[in-house]
């Protein structure tokens, strides 16, 4: 790679769009947690949008570049500094050999992305796209989901809690899943479920009565009640929520979910 890590961050890794086609062997898909920021970083540099990017959690790695390249940093703002001078996020930045990149402190968001390119962009990315991504990542509107197979097994009270109460992200949140804190939820009857396939964004009801939302490194099958799945376009917003961020949920239908996904992907491919 074109940089070396001088000081290792807690959970930084190279990620791409994920490795599909092997879930039947129990092999996780993985891939970036926030596809919007990852794609944006590539788009700013004129890369293919699904190119590998460096996913950065805080405390972040300190990086020294080994050649002259171009970079773009997107997603969370951890105050990136290049040779101790502050640099912008969501912009193409020219790098010289030996430059050092550090991240000082988390201002907002949970995950930053670093894309690299040897050639640099031919044209500037539409500022409206950057604005659109920023506003869809960092806002307080409800997280939308489509009810899952165990939704109707919930008590009326539990359904009401999900629709009306505020939940919170907790410290039990990582690339596998985000465990939430909220009112205690339960199914009408104590029922055991046979494991079946789960996806990114699946909301499972844990035996503790709390919700866990499966993220990029989730297991392929799961046996907890499947309450629903977060729609793909809202997952990056969830992925960017720092510890103890309040979350509200809202029902969504398939048509809306697909339209929104298509709309955003069209912006990236134009």
């Amino acid at each position: 790679m074109s940089f070396k890590i001088i000081k290792k961050g807690i959970a930084d890794s190279w990620q791409d769009a994920g490795n599909y086609g092997q879930q039947h062997l129990g092999i996780q898909v993985g891939g970036y947690m926030d596809f919007l920021s990852a794609q944006l970083a590539n788009k700013i540099l004129g890369n293919a949008i699904d190119q590998q990017v460096f996913e950065i959690h805080f405390p972040a790695s300190t990086i020294e570049f080994e050649e002259a390249i171009f970079i773009a940093i997107t997603g969370a703002n951890f105050i990136p500094v290049l040779n101790e001078k502050s640099i912008s996020i969501n912009e193409c930045i020219k790098i010289n050999k030996g430059d050092q990149l550090q991240f000082l402190q988390p201002i907002h968001g949970r995950i930053a992305y670093l894309a690299i390119s040897k050639k640099g962009p031919k044209e500037q990315v539409n500022p409206e796209l950057i604005e659109h991504i920023e506003s869809s990542l960092f806002n307080t509107s409800p997280i939308r989901f489509i009810p899952g197979p165990a939704w109707n097994d919930l008590t009326a009270g539990s359904i009401q809690h999900i629709m009306e109460t505020s939940f919170q992200t907790t410290l039990q949140s990582n690339r596998m899943g985000f465990q939430l804190a909220g009112p205690h939820l339960s199914t009408i009857e104590p029922k055991s479920y046979l494991s079946s396939g789960v996806t990114k964004g699946t909301m499972q009801l844990l035996p503790s009565g709390q919700i866990i939302i499966l993220m990029a490194d989730h297991q392929t099958i799961g046996g907890y009640p499947n309450l629903g799945q977060i729609i793909l376009v809202d997952l990056p917003r969830l992925a960017q929520m720092a510890h103890q961020t309040p979350i509200h949920f809202r029902l969504c239908n398939l048509t809306t979910a697909h339209e929104q996904f298509q709309f955003i992907q069209t912006q990236f491919t134009n």
Partner: protein, 247 residues
């Protein structure tokens, strides 16, 4: 594996799993015939080569397919639900026309050393079941098991069904470390830990062969048939030398 129209136990239910997956499910029980139907359906859909489908996840009574939203939308004239229903209808039609079709599956024979140093729960199970350790080994090795699904860890195959005479529940408190290659039983199921990991299954032996490695991937695929045969400690050691066991 043979699938007969007459064996039909229940009909397919369709559930759209969020905006990028579809869950097809049958009656929710651990049953070899129902699971065989899942593998047949999986095989049928895969043979259609629909590139918009990115993943197929068969499990006990269900098949989940993961799709690329944009690629599938381009392909379809109908709704996702209608598409899912048409897959079920085509499969039912296919079965009618091919009254009994055989699904080619691998039969994998796994060497297991049932020495007490490896089979750390054998004596306890023998006591609970009022039988000898030798009988447990005979019963475990006398059957051919079906791989219901693979999950929990990469390459971990859930197989069944274990003879009722030796069925035991999983440990109430999982062990923090179960060694790679450990062969366990839990309820009607048996399985092998592909690598060192925490685990709650009751351990009856250990295999020296590699269950999963990142290059050759998994030894077992859903729908495979598996049987176990006993080996001595000496055979275990020499087989292990030949294998690059992934820990």
């Amino acid at each position: 594996m043979k699938i007969n129209e007459n064996d039909k136990k229940s009909s397919w239910q369709i559930h759209l799993l969020g905006d990028h997956a579809i869950l097809f499910s049958l009656k929710e029980i651990i049953d070899t015939a129902i699971n065989a139907e899942v593998h047949a359906f999986n095989y049928f859909i895969q043979s259609k080569n629909i590139h918009a489908i990115k993943d197929f996840i068969p499990a006990y009574h269900s098949l989940t397919i993961v799709y690329d939203i944009i690629a599938l939308q381009k392909l379809l004239q109908q709704s996702i639900h209608e598409f899912a229903q048409s897959l079920v209808n085509e499969f039912e039609q296919f079965k009618k026309e091919n009254n009994s079709f055989a699904l080619t599956t691998n039969h994998i024979k796994v060497p297991v050393c049932y020495e007490l140093d490896f089979g750390i729960d054998l004596e306890k199970i023998a006591k609970e079941k009022n039988c000898s350790v030798k009988e447990i080994i005979e019963i475990h090795t006398s059957k051919t098991y079906q791989v219901f699904c693979v999950g929990f860890l990469p390459g971990f195959a859930y197989m069944g069904k274990v003879d009722e005479k030796i069925q035991v529940p999983r440990h109430a408190k999982p062990r923090p470390l179960v060694s790679a290659g450990s062969v366990g039983i839990a309820g009607a199921q048996t399985g092998i830990y592909p690598k060192n990991s925490p685990g709650g299954w009751q351990i009856i032996g250990r295999t020296p062969i590699t269950i999963f490695d990142p290059v050759q991937l998994a030894l077992f695929a859903p729908g495979d048939m598996v049987s176990f045969y006993p080996i001595s400690l000496d055979e275990f050691n020499s087989l292990q030398k030949e294998t690059n066991h992934v820990i």
